[in-house]
């Protein structure tokens, strides 16, 4: 649980593209990016097709995850290097997921696709073929996943970190500004949540800021290091990015990601909602 164990640099990645036992995995919602060119040797995981249950509103279970990784040729003892677009949002989500299902060695490529592109590093369209394995996922570790009832109980008690943009937090927007704004659920935030947009944790090139900078950002925002923390966003991927920062880079204990996030909370009947730029009262 530190920068050394959770993160690899683009330089390191470039030197280890063919190292046995290391599997590069691109994770995106829009996998046309992978199809148009990816890091040599990398396989792809589709956030929606591969990681979400096709029927229930939930992600794939232990058996489905085992089957997915077996089919993609990933072994329990492989080191998995995850990267993707959107400043590694979906890669961070997948990282959380690999941890949830107990994968031993998983790391994020710092900067993801963006840094790779800005550095003008090599892409390929060749899709590697990996022999199937018999992957065995562990039972889900719910110490890192928060559910709605727990979130409601955390109001005024635990650290709640809202990582959406300030306008989404305040209730002025329902979605990020690269999407049309029409949406049906209520706007606002969970009362007592502090607003620390995920982007505060990233440099312009998509890499994470230094541990010192990160500690200052969350400290200044009012995160109480003695309390447990739940991070949320709209659908749980941006908050995976912040979960990764708090848990894996800063080494905080008891940090959960609420993947139901605002799309669930903002549609619940009877729960409190705060509007405006302030956290609000419990």
């Amino acid at each position: 649980m530190s920068r050394d164990t959770a993160l690899v640099s683009a330089d390191w990645a470039e030197k280890n593209l063919e190292t046995p036992g290391i599997v590069f995995v691109e994770v995106d919602e829009d996998t046309t990016a992978y199809d148009g060119g990816h890091i040599p040797g990398a396989i792809k995981i589709d956030w929606k097709q591969d990681l979400q249950d096709p029927v229930r509103r939930d992600f794939v279970n232990q058996e489905q995850f085992s089957a997915l990784l077996s089919e993609r040729g990933i072994s329990n003892d492989d080191t998995v290097i995850l990267y993707g677009g959107n400043n590694n949002w979906f890669a961070a989500y997948a990282f959380w997921y690999f941890k949830l299902y107990g994968h031993e060695s998983v790391k994020l490529l710092d900067g993801g696709r963006k840094k790779w592109e800005l550095d003008a590093r090599v892409y390929t369209k060749d899709v590697p073929s990996r022999a199937a394995t018999s992957y065995s996922a562990k039972a889900p570790n719910l110490e890192i996943r928060a559910f709605r009832d727990e979130v409601v109980q955390a109001i005024g008690v635990k650290n709640l970190v809202d990582v959406r943009s300030p306008d989404e937090f305040a209730g002025r927007l329902l979605a990020p500004a690269h999407l049309p704004q029409e949406q049906s659920q209520r706007a606002g935030h969970i009362p007592t949540a502090i607003s620390v947009p995920w982007s505060k944790a990233a440099n312009e090139d998509g890499t994470f800021k230094s541990d010192e900078e990160l500690a200052k950002i969350y400290g200044d925002a009012g995160l109480d290091g003695s309390k447990d923390t739940i991070a949320y966003c709209r659908i749980g991927e941006r908050s995976s990015h912040t979960w990764f920062v708090l848990k894996e880079l800063l080494g905080q204990e008891n940090v959960k990601n609420y993947d139901g996030s605002w799309t669930e909370y903002g549609s619940l009947i009877g729960v409190p909602i705060a509007l405006g730029d302030e956290p609000g009262k419990a």
Binding site: E29, G85, N86, S165, A177, E182, E204
Partner: protein, 112 residues
């Protein structure tokens, strides 16, 4: 893909196809669309550039990747914004005063 934006709302946070026509569901009486192209000083279109939308205080708001034709698009609100592009051909910046409807701009990148 008749309505990529609508599909993406249901699915998550990834940006819709940046070059696709505006979906019919987008109401231009209400939406403030900031759209344009990224090009080099020589006028070549830059696909794969990262374009960020910064608010009036310089805070990050959103980011998209340009289409192969160099096109990007944001759904914002009326007011002052800054567009900043990063690419393997260099970076660029542009201030925009957006009004309701479609605001079209061109953003040039160059190595410093």
């Amino acid at each position: 893909m008749t309505s990529p934006a609508a599909a993406n709302i249901a699915a998550g946070c990834a940006a819709p196809d940046q070059s696709a026509p505006l979906p019919a569901s987008v109401d231009l009486q209400k939406e403030t669309v900031i759209t344009g192209i990224v090009n080099t000083a020589e006028g070549e279109l830059v696909g794969g550039a990262y374009v960020r939308l910064l608010d009036a205080s310089g805070e990050f708001t959103a980011e998209v990747v340009t289409s192969p034709e160099g096109v990007f698009r944001f759904f914002a609100a009326p007011g002052s914004w800054t567009l900043r592009a990063l690419s393997r051909f260099g970076n660029g910046e542009l201030a925009v005063d957006a009004t309701r409807g479609v605001n079209e701009v061109a953003l040039s990148v160059a190595t410093v």
